[in-house]
Amino acid sequence: MSSIDLLPPLLIAAPILAATLPIALGLWFDRAGWSVAAATTSGLFVGAVALANAVYGGERITHELGGYPREYGIELVADEFSMLIVLLVTAVAAGVLAFTRRGGPRGNTFYTAYLLLVAGLLGISLTGDVFNLFVFLEISSIATYALVASGDGPEAAVAALKYLILGTVAASMYLIGVAFVFMATGTLNMVELAGAIPEANTTLIRAGIAFMIVGFAVKVAQWPLHTWQPSAYQRAPDGVTPLIAALVSTASAYAFGRIIVTVLGVEYLAGTPNVAPIVLTIGCVSVLAGTVLAVIQTEVKRMLAYSSVSQFGLVIAAYGVVIAGESETALIGAAIHLVGHGVLKAGIFLAAALVATSYGARTVDEYAGLAKRRPFVAGSMAVLLLALVGVPPGVGFVGKWYIAVGAVESQLWPVAAVIFLSTMLTLAYAARLLEKMYFTPSAPADASRPGPAATDGGTADTDAAAAIRGAGAADPVSIGMIAVVVVAAVVAVALGFAGGTIADLLEPFLTEVFN
């Protein structure tokens, strides 16, 4: 069993060590980066599956780094909640590589940042120490700033700097919160804190909670602190946006949930005045504001970025329901929605990147007639968008369902209403894209209307469009790029059927938290 105990530190250390290889090997080989990243992320995924197998088999796996006891050392913990995020991180990180092989960005330094980001995210998921969480938040953030800045053109640098300043202030806010909590309790370990906080000085703990909420609200991109997110998602290279959108805010939202349920404790927070209303308000306002802002966007990546604001609003609102109603159901909903949204956004952003690579289409209007030219991509994107709206059996439905049921059980009717309303509004922007793809004829097809072949909608049309755009030489889109989008769509639907299984897997964790 000791070999399983070593997996959590290995999952974090391996990508950090492997991150040095692309630069070192780059001295001799031009394209070593992709191979190193692919081997590492595949290995990580296998390790994550092995670890998940043990955790869901009923073992709680902890590892004390350096052999120091957890009172003053750092402990890594793999439990039912964290393994969901670890699996998501490793799977998406391995999947996105299928796109970047041909879709770019290329270069060995890119893959170094990529592996550092994965290491940081795995660290956030596995750590059992509140200060260590700050360090991993910053490692993943620094890698993200570098990845965003590697986009084309100077706008990417501006977006990255904006993200850097806001992100650093946010992480520092969290650190102040940690300072207050540490001052009151004298420990940094999550389990030790959970025992010490109820007896500690309430003023210090409340000040700490306030700073932590603000810090995480920025990191998770909640309205009105979301301003870094749309420009960062939009300006990042096409191959990077899926990774960032699927994982970075998800890991922060997971960390927030971990702080709420494990460190502060649901019961303690429920007894603290104003916490539940504040968290609920942040979540619900973000849901509505994010969706409304998404509807008025013309740029596809920007629209999807605002959609992330609203989807994470749902997760934060679910945390509010957990605090206000001590609702297990809402916590299951939050966990499923975190994973589901990660898969969905990764898939949709990959599809958007694929369309941008092959046609240069970036606005909603330019998506006209996509279904004819790229039936698989358009089909997958349609499935993913509908799942995001919450059409069963997509995974978006399951998450929203659990959150809504939790809200109804706790008799928080406004929250239930917001979730229902958000589904309608999500349909508004998803439908715009679907309508363009399937029911609006593309502009080049209009130009070649005299040809009778246009009515067939077959290969002749596709060839003509390709010839017009001069894409005859080498197809910029590889089979792997299309395959990964299709796989994302299939996974999104399969996870929808697996909703009950995920809830069962989380059961031991929930009984521990709520008793």
Binding site: F131, V135, I142, A149, P154, A157, V158, I165, F182, M183
Partner: protein, 125 residues
């Protein structure tokens, strides 16, 4: 009130510094000064951590266990916050380096470091 100030003046000072840092981030139009503001903000947090280790223990010295004497009986400040601050300083340096690299790129592209000018230049494009 006065008594509180004299015994806890370090906390007051660190939070004044914290306020100065965040004000600089918000109010200054110069990107480099914004980054300096972020640094000031972080430094205030580091000082807060270090000072809290000393104030909690009256008359504590630096956490170095002397060669002679019983280690258990020596009053020292808690070493944990100081270790934390060391780590946080490293993180802060990395952030500053990335931030400055981005600012250099912005300057070479747009030829300005002022945010208002930058906004005008970008709006023209």
């Amino acid at each position: 009130m006065i008594e509180l100030l004299t015994s806890h003046y370090l906390y007051v000072l660190t939070f004044v510094l914290l306020g100065l840092g965040i004000y600089m981030v918000i109010a200054s139009e110069n990107l480099v000064k914004k980054l300096i503001g972020v640094n000031l903000f972080q430094t205030a947090i580091f000082l807060f951590f270090v000072s809290m280790a000393y104030i909690d223990v009256d008359g504590a010295s630096a956490p170095i266990v002397p060669h002679e004497g019983t280690p258990g009986e020596v009053m020292v400040a808690s070493p944990l916050p100081q270790v934390i601050v060391l780590t946080a300083i490293v993180v802060g340096i990395a952030l500053t380096a990335v931030g400055l690299a981005l600012i250099i790129r912005i300057y070479s592209e747009y030829g300005t470091l002022r945010e208002d000018t930058l906004r005008e230049v970008r709006a023209d494009e």
